[in-house]
Amino acid sequence: MPDALGARLPTEEPLGRSLSIYAKRLAIVLAVALANGVLLLMMWLGVTHPFPGGLLLGIVITSVATMFLWREGLTVKEAIRISEEGFVAGDLAHYEIGQAPPRVVALSLLSRALIREDLRQDHGLERVARALTRGGSDEEGRRRWMAAIDRARQELSAQTEGRDDPTLRNHVRRVIEALHELETLGP
C-alpha cells in the first residue's frame, strides 16, 4: 500500500531501489566496523610498536567516524520531521473538508502535495528545502507547482469520494476554485 508523502518502508519500494537502500545501510554498518578494525590495529600497534603521531591519527579517525554518524542521524531525524509535518498537514485537510474555509483546505492539500512531491524525488534535504520555495529554474518551479496542484485535486477527490452530501459538494467546489486561484498565483 503506497503511503502518503512517500514515507514508505524500504521493502515497499521497487526491488531495485529497495536493494539499493539496504546495500547502502549494509555498507555503512560495515564501513563503521572496518573503521573500528583500523582503529584496533592502530591501538595494538600503538601499545606494541609505538610510533610518533599514532595517537593523533587514531583521534582523527575516531572524530571523522563520529561526525559521519552524527550527520547521518541528523539527516534521518530531519526526514522524519518533514514526513510528520506532512502527515499533520494532510490530516488537517482531511478533517477540515466541509468545515474550514476552502482556501485553508486548499492550502493544506497543496502543502502536503508539495512535501510529498519533494520526498519522492531523490534530492538531498537542502535541495528539498530550496525546492519548497522555488524550483531549480522557472520552468522547473512551474512544473512542480502544477504537479502539486494536480496531486491536491486528486487527494481532494479521493477523500470525498462516495460522500454524497450537497453541503460538502458545494464546499468541495469552492476548494477546487481556491486551488484554481492558487494555480494562477504559482511561479
Binding site: N36, L69, G73, E84, A158
Partner: protein, 105 residues
Amino acid sequence: MDEQIAGTGDEWSDPPGARLRFFVGHFFAILIDTGFLVLWVTVQWLSERLIQGLKLAEVIDSWVLWTFQIVLALSTLAPVVIYTYADVIVMWARARKKVRRAKHA
C-alpha cells in the same frame, strides 16, 4: 485514481493481493532489521575472537582493548538503531494516523 491515499482505507478491506503485499512488506522490513542486529552480534563475536588472539603483556594494554570493544559495540550499533528507528517510525506514524482517523470518523 492511480494511488489510494494511505489511511483513508483499511488494509483488511483491501483486495487480498494488496493486503498480502502490505504485510509482506512489513514482515521483511522487520526481518531485515533483525538481520542487521544479528550482523552486529557477529561483528562483536569476531572482534572478541580477534582480541583474544592479540597477546599483550601488561594489564593496561588489555584495558585499552576492553575500551575499544565498548567503542566498537556502540559505534556499530548506532547505524543499526538509526535505521531500525526510521522503519519503526514509519509503521508507528501509520498506526497513529489510523487511530486518529478512526476517532474522527
